[in-house]
């Protein structure tokens, strides 16, 4: 059962899937993400069911500013692109490029997070607290949960960057980087849905 990977010609072209352990991690993580998708779907469902329930408090039309959210979206989309470039570098066994692209991803993620915190503070100033209305609760819960995922993703990637700062690409850490970048894409896709369902539909009144 144990895979013996032929390393005589250097790292294989798909180092993340070369070992059984790597393949297990890969499949397991996809299943985990499908579960996460269902969980987010539930929060989306709750938000869609409750977004009219403003109970006299501020509504989506009154609060949301498209330019800000647009910048946040762009930041996150770009960070996803840089993580793709990092994986591309990994497959060419270019460790330095991978580290640079991954670090860029982290920086872009941090910028996104900063704007999100600014956004929440603004909304609270405009009278939408967490307990103001069902709309407020479900908005902060959905978007906040996404934010928590961003935090976790940043912590995860940063840990990998520090832990493997000097190790080069190996059969052990390749699946770890790969899975982390997969997670980052997932966060990005969820944000695209949040952007559409929460912000565009909120402003457009659809």
């Amino acid at each position: 059962m144990a895979d013996h990977v032929d390393m005589t010609k250097g790292l294989p072209s798909n180092p993340e899937k070369a070992t059984l352990e790597g393949r297990n991690k890969f499949l397991g993580f996809w299943i985990f993400l499908s579960g996460e998708t269902i969980m987010f779907a539930t929060f989306f469902g709750a938000f869609l069911g409750l977004r009219e329930g403003t109970a006299g408090g501020p509504t989506a039309e009154e609060l949301f500013q498209l330019p800000l959210v647009f910048i946040m979206t762009m930041l996150l989309l770009t960070s996803s692109l840089t993580s793709v470039l990092a994986m591309y570098a990994m497959k060419r066994n270019n460790f330095k490029a991978m580290m640079i692209w991954m670090s860029t991803t982290v920086l872009l993620g941090l910028a996104f997070l900063g704007l999100e915190i600014y956004e929440f503070v603004e909304y609270v100033h405009h009278g939408l607290g967490y307990t103001t209305s069902a709309f407020g609760s479900s908005f902060y819960t959905l978007v906040g949960l996404h934010g928590a995922h961003v935090v976790f993703g940043l912590a995860w990637i940063s840990t990998l960057l520090i832990r493997y700062a000097k190790s080069g690409i190996t059969l052990t850490n390749a699946p770890k980087f790969y899975v982390a970048s997969l997670y980052w894409h997932f966060i990005d896709v969820v944000w695209v849905f949040i952007f559409t369902v929460v912000y565009l539909m909120g402003i457009g009144g659809a």
Binding site: L20, L27, G28, I38, M39, A41, G53, S133, A134
Partner: protein, 627 residues
């Protein structure tokens, strides 16, 4: 000299404890699930006995309404989440790798982690008794009764305990899926897998898709209770029915999560003791998949009386009826497996075969319940209580008992006593029908469920008495089982052969007791029922698929246990946010728990653990000992 041996003994004792706390071996974890599940089962069963004592006579004062509500809630919650699930996980953990010819599960560390998180989550739920009372809003925890304004502190234990134990269940399920998909022995194609592996795979998928909505729902309820969110308060734009949708999107698949592995066990035991292959294997696999798929399309049938409207109700009624078809396919395939076989009726087979007609009785009431207008009568009455106990006790518990008697010799190296087994079966089976059959009628004559008492003169007295006596008989049956376990451990003859039942699947090709690495050489699978195939077409032994070589084994780790404790502490701290006069500030508990949990994860992530190897020489020595 004496001192010296005492020291050795002490050291050895300690290492045994540490061995079990740090193990990542799927077989040991299976046994741990079995023990934990049994303890929770006995606890929740005892609560049921107390409830039946209260309902034995009208207007009884044995329990008051509040205590009774705490008992129904804990009985349901424990039985489903902390008894049935781990008991099934026990067999899944122990048997799946053996049946597919693997040395362990895909992620041994995650397997241990799943167990400890589940265990400490369950423990957190259980300590609620010492902090002002257990949860009391029913296992379904409908809002607003369970929400901030009306629910007691017990509900916080429910919300957080279940969230924690749910994480454990979820990661274990992911582990099973990856194991079954990636770790099968050469030649073990999907359509050669034993049905128990199939149903376990489907159950694990259901867990991934059903426990996540539950996690979301519990999170909403937690935010409502601890942080004043307004999801369920109509005055602030919330909606009380939202919880019911989320809960039942989880709750209905949960029934199949539990019953499918039981179907799997039955599909192993009946062929083994009919000496005949499973009739219609392909149909059985597809029926399982269809049941799982439809299981997600029917949740509204728990909510017919919520007032969703005739269109929705009709659609969900038809979808519900449709589940009857694949279930029927399974029933008839089991019957035709027995038909033309050579049946041996030991305890395992008695439990497995009597499952078939019993489950049909639960199934037909299920179809009756799907008739929307008639459900307006059945809904939330004892008719429903009778229905789902026929499914859960008549289905899942009989399946578990069959599995226990069947796999016991492989797991523990000796048989359970057959005479005591028969006694247990008949007491349990007769008691079961006495308890639950009359409850159908009680529901129709006007007894709602979850009532702590009923008034005299409504025609309910006799049937409640019968039901209670039946419950005592059932409990006596379970006591006989416990006696049997102890008696057999002491007196029963050791099993030394690998295949005591003349069975058909791969787990019976391993030596008893099973070495840590399961298979010295991974077997080559040539057919469905591979061992049986080799008995007919070969020499009765599995052919190896690889030369004898070093075996890579994972190291044990204490981290799963510590993460479990961390989550317990963290969760308890969260509950303290709602306690009125906590001794210390909740954050003094939350933060250490949080740090313990994530710190351990960080350690695991940073410290690379490559495991160890059993060399060929050691392997040869070990194999000689075994044979």
């Amino acid at each position: 000299m004496a001192d010296y041996s005492a020291i050795i003994k002490e050291k050895k004792d300690k290492s045994v404890l540490m061995d079990w706390l740090t193990t990542v071996d799927h077989k040991k974890l299976g046994v741990m699930y079995l023990i934990a599940g049994t303890l929770f089962f006995l606890k929740a069963g005892l609560m049921a006995v107390f409830m039946r004592i209260q309902l034995m006579f009208p207007e009884s004062n044995f329990l008051d309404g509040q205590t009774y509500n705490e008992f129904i809630t804990m009985h349901g919650t424990i039985m489903l989440f902390l008894a049935a699930t781990p008991l099934l996980f026990a067999f899944m953990n122990y048997i799946i790798p053996l049946q597919i010819g693997a040395r362990d599960v895909a992620f041994p560390f995650v397997n241990a982690l799943g167990f400890w998180i589940f265990f400490f989550g369950g423990l957190l739920l259980s300590v609620s008794w010492f902090f002002g009372g257990a949860p009391d809003a029913g296992w379904t925890a409908y809002v607003p009764l369970s929400a901030g304004d009306y629910g007691h502190l017990g509900m916080d234990f429910y919300v957080i305990g279940l969230q924690i134990s749910g994480i454990g269940t979820l990661i274990s399920a992911i582990n099973f899926i990856v194991t079954i998909v990636n770790m099968r022995a050469p030649g073990m194609t999907m359509m050669r897998m034993p049905l128990f592996c199939w149903t376990s795979l489907v159950t694990s998928l259901l867990i991934v898709f059903a426990f996540t909505p539950l996690a979301a729902g519990l999170a909403l309820l937690m935010l409502d209770r601890l942080f004043g969110a307004q999801f369920f308060s109509p005055d602030s734009g919330g909606n009380a029915v939202l919880w019911q949708h989320i809960f039942w999107i989880f709750g209905h698949p949960e029934v199949y999560i539990l019953v499918l592995p039981a179907f799997g066990i039955i599909s192993e035991v009946i062929p083994a003791f009919s000496r005949k292959r499973l009739f219609g294997y392909t149909a059985m696999v597809f029926a399982t998949l269809i049941i799982a798929f439809l299981g997600f399309m029917v949740w509204v049938h728990h909510m017919f009386t919520v007032g969703i409207g005739p269109v929705t109700n009709s659609v969900f009624a038809i979808a519900t009826m449709a589940i009857g078809i694949p279930t029927g396919i399974k029933i008839f395939n089991w019957l035709f497996t027995m038909w033309g076989g050579k049946l041996t009726f030991n305890t395992a087979m008695l439990c497995a075969s009597s499952f078939v007609p019993t489950f049909v009785l639960g199934g037909v009431t299920g179809v009756m319940l799907s008739m929307v207008p008639v459900d307006y009568l059945y809904h939330d009455t004892y008719f429903v209580v009778a229905h789902f106990h026929y499914i859960i006790v008549g289905g899942i518990v009989l399946g578990l008992l069959a599995g226990l008697y069947y796999w016991y010799p492989k797991m523990f190296g000796h048989h359970l006593n057959e005479k005591l087994g028969m006694l247990m079966f008949w007491m349990f089976y007769i008691g079961f029908h006495m308890t639950f059959f009359v409850q159908h009628i009680l529901g129709l004559i006007g007894m709602p469920r979850r009532v702590y008492t009923y008034l005299e003169g409504q025609g309910m007295d006799t049937m409640n008495l019968i039901s209670s006596i039946g419950a005592f008989l059932m409990s006596a049956g379970i006591i006989v089982l416990v006696i049997n376990i102890v008696y057999s451990a002491l007196k029963s003859e050791r099993v030394v052969v690998s295949d005591p039942w003349d069975a058909r699947t791969l787990e019976w090709s391993t030596p008893t007791p099973i070495p840590e690495y399961n298979f010295a050489q991974v077997p080559q699978v040539r057919s469905l029922d591979p061992l049986f195939y080799e008995k007919i077409h070969g020499d009765g032994k599995m052919k190896p698929a690889e030369p004898l070589s070093d075996i890579h084994m994972p190291n044990g780790s204490i981290l799963p246990f510590i993460i479990g404790i961390g989550m317990f502490v963290w969760g308890f701290g969260m509950i303290m946010l709602n306690m009125e006069n906590a001794i210390i500030t909740p954050y003094a508990v939350i933060i250490p728990g949080f740090l313990l949990t994530f710190g351990s994860m960080l350690v695991r992530s940073i410290k690379e653990d490559h495991g160890y190897h059993i060399t060929v020489e050691e392997l040869k020595k070990l194999e000689k000992e075994v044979s």
